[in-house]
Symmetry: C2
Subunit: 337 residues, 2 copies
């Protein structure tokens, strides 16, 4: 049984972490919940108990085994050292440490062995990277991957609770013929598509696009992987979609590829075009899986594959992956000792 | 001055045709409006006159110069011969004749000369093909194009007036916590993304995706062009977006490419990432142009380019292109005779 803390417990991902800990029957001894000043005193029900939300204090992490954090990078950077000092393990759902050379970046189905070299901090990838890497890892079982290009269709919950509220408010305004207001996003998101997620870098890519590029290389231990991305925000609440084009070293064999994907733990192939059955944000979320459909040969390249994926950005994209990392650490330590 | 007929005059594209004829100051002598039985007797105001909507009858096209049609393919197939027999020219916004070898498929900025071999019918391309071909044609001025892959984000108006009503109704239901109903689309479109536009073919692609592939080759006179597409429907009213990956024979020179795009008539480069200014469905519609932004080198390929485009699917994607085709025919006949 383990002592757990959640930092950012009142956010969209924090709430999902509580759900996932429960559905995974995570062996919890003690559970502490932390959030920002404005949430202090809120009561959260978990497993028949009522837990008071507090702010992080000097000794908050003493005697914790795992600290799950989903908050601003600035918060992660502050609590990182104190979690380490408490000999606890920070499992961080932010960008603060992902590319640090002494911090493993983990998708358990892909690189579980990397948790072994953690020094008190493990990062989970960006919510677009995780499902993509799950599929790419499986596809490596077919052939070497020469090149990847992806276009995303990302849900507003990836930008937090305020972003969800903004879309819902804009929808209500539109339904009653009033002018929608935008604050979280740089443009109105309802009835729109915004080809920008996070801010721009000098090379013309957004930070979100570069996260996909750099994190995928790190997780797959392949610095030479050729990969590019275009990230967009669409007016959906939950569920990131990705239209993916992969180029292999070998000619595509669809039957083999589908078998490989069906065998991969955490991936569900949903590809019955006869019944208009393929993944959408509304039918392929609220569970731990990555759903893959529209699997077909790239008409422009014999060695190319096109497919479409949807994953719940708050679950496998965040909370599920975080809890699975803690489970992986527990499991691998059992084996070791 | 010309005698004009519009078939499908009460539909979303038909209404736009009236707008575009007006803003283009198209030299109209007489204007006849046709629609299905249920619209007979409706009055439409155009240029200070009131015009009664009728159904197409045996002699409807006698003395017309141009018949614009935006209706079901079945309607186009019925009226095609009678327009020909009346020595009029059908400019058809449907799939009925696009791939026929004796029917030119026209985007005037790209292949205006092809109108010269029409035999009474000219087709306009699918609303996703037209803006893509506009940009590809311009890019050929930089280097030979080896390969194209595109992922679309298509607005519901592409599926007609009932589809627009369906999204608006679903939005209202969601805003008042009721269950949305779907009828036009195979799944709920509000708060969702549907990776299917039109029905599926045996090769796993949708008809819409194959339209992009086949129409692009025909318009560009390049049967060997390597091109593939993924088409999706997103909850927007107007404005199709496309995330495009082009591979050239030469290494990308961004400066040259942007200059070429800026010079192309009908294309507006909107790419000021410093100001979060790029095309979105809400800011790059309601006019005749194709807007291009997010122009950058493909990180996975020195000869690759990534860009994002938005065009009004009812205007350049349909009505504008139709009217421009008539203008092109008039202009080229002036030159010839």
């Amino acid at each position: 049984m383990y002592n757990i803390a959640i930092v950012g417990a009142t956010g969209v991902v924090g709430k999902k972490m509580l759900e996932v800990l429960k559905t995974h029957n995570f062996p919890i001894n003690n559970l502490k919940l932390f959030a920002s000043e404005k949430s202090v005193g809120k009561k959260i029900h978990f497993d028949g108990k009522e837990i008071l939300v507090d702010i992080v204090r000097e000794n908050s992490f003493i005697d914790t085994d795992f600290v799950f954090c989903s908050a601003d990078s600035s918060v992660s950077k502050i609590i990182g050292p104190s979690v380490r000092n408490a000999h606890s393990i920070l499992i961080d759902d932010g960008n603060a440490f992902r590319m640090d050379s002494d911090v493993p970046l983990i998708v358990p189905e892909v690189n579980s062995q990397d948790v072994d070299w953690h020094k008190g901090i493990v990062s989970i990838p960006n919510c677009t990277t995780t499902p993509l890497v799950m599929v790419l890892h499986a596809l490596k079982g077919f052939s070497n991957i020469d090149r990847v290009n992806v276009s995303t269709y990302q849900a507003v919950s990836g930008a937090g609770a305020q972003a969800v509220k903004e879309l819902e408010d804009q929808i209500k305004k539109i339904a009653s013929n009033q002018k929608p207001i935008n604050d979280v996003f740089p443009h109105q998101i309802a009835m729109n598509v915004i080809p920008q997620v996070d801010s721009f870098e000098k090379n013309g890519y957004t930070k979100e696009e570069m996260k996909i590029v750099n994190e995928t290389k790190k997780i797959m231990h392949d610095e030479e992987l050729l990969i590019s991305a275009t990230c967009t925000r669409v007016p959906t609440i939950v569920g990131h979609c990705e239209s993916v084009n992969v180029t292999f070293s070998d000619e595509v064999d669809l039957e083999k590829i589908i078998l490989i994907l069906e065998k991969q733990q955490g991936i569900i192939v949903r590809d019955k075009t006869d019944f208009n059955n393929y993944p959408t944000p509304l039918n392929s979320t609220l569970d731990d899986n990555v759903y893959v459909g529209r699997i077909r040969k790239d008409l422009s390249n014999k060695k190319g594959l096109l497919f479409w994926l949807v994953a719940d950005n708050l679950m496998k994209g965040a909370a599920t992956n975080a809890v699975q990392i803690a489970e992986t650490i527990i499991e691998r330590n059992k084996v070791s000792y």
